[in-house]
Amino acid sequence: MYQQIIVSLLLLTTMVGTFGLIDFCAHSRRLASLVDSWDIRRFVENREHMANRGMFLEFEDRLILDEIPHADYARGGVYFFGSSPMKWGLATWALPPDLRRLIGNYGIGASSHELQYAFIRHLVEHENFLKAGGNKTHVMLGLYWSMGQNWKSDSYFKPLWERHGLYTYSDANGIQRIVASPFLIALRYERARCMGFIGSNINRLAHAAVTALGIPLTDTEKIQDTERVRRWAARLSDDGEWRAGLDRQMTALQRLIDYLHQRKVGVTVVLLPERTPFKVLPEPMAYQQAVRDLCEQRAIPLVDLSHLLAEDEFWDINHSNYEGLMKTHAALMSLAADRLANMGVYKGN
């Protein structure tokens, strides 16, 4: 009997200890810095795309579980919103720490203007996003034609928010925090970090093994053949019902901008780089024109970076490679520095 109790306690200690050790590793800044260096080196060497995910499975998990909960909105800042071309359009890891605290890359993949509106409302209404005041916070909308499509929330946005049992999402009520005891919430956060540590590193090793065998990780990575790029671009925007979706998403974009303006938040619209074949396709062309018209009506500054990159500066059909990222990052940071100086939030060195 006595031995059984000892063995049971040892088992419990081993399980709690394993959880604690994984959690410690998941929180380690030193380990995070090591894996970031590994990811950046592979990206610079053009071997793999940089997901900018740290010790999390995805960029968005890092954003939701780490960046937003630790953000200090009291000083104001410039925050970028958009879909995946935005989330992978800034090299935030290269920013000096004092500037990093004032710049947020809040891109979420596979998102439309409706979903972005829900995200911004959540930040304002539940995360104290405008703590410094609207006049000290600037929103950069990094737009890409795919945001004019009716992305179903079930496809990614809703599972993303709900996967760790910390939030719920519905189209009617937006993003809501789960109501539970602080202990349970804290436990779920730590479990999510452990999952991220295990999952991201297994995923990292799998990527390294697959690329070492010369097998591409994605369908369109490193494609340069003009005809192949054209076919992929046409395939991605072949939705025959796109006009109704675009109208709906432009209404959501208007509401989003009005919502921010009502709170005295400055807004700048940036059209992000896109590959050449998209520039002659009906849906991307109509989207850009609708954005231009809206910006003109509302007197919103519009910066067109859609022609910024050459074809060989893209990693895949939608996202830039390292050289492309450096150019996009420089252009976006120049805008951010200007807005920060105008708001009196950061004067630079």
Binding site: F19, R163, T218
Partner: protein, 44 residues
């Protein structure tokens, strides 16, 4: 089952170490079980 009992009697420390190793693996599986599917690629 008898063979496992015999093994435990003959090598108690090794049996204990193996049990703890199983506990570690089970904990890792429990932590990873609700992990989101590994996404290799999403177009946007």
């Amino acid at each position: 089952m008898n063979k496992i009992d015999d093994f435990g009697r003959r090598h108690p420390r090794l049996a204990l170490a193996l049990t703890m190793a199983v506990a570690v693996v089970v904990t890792l599986i429990l932590l990873g079980q609700s992990q989101a599917p590994v996404v290799l690629y999403r177009a946007f």
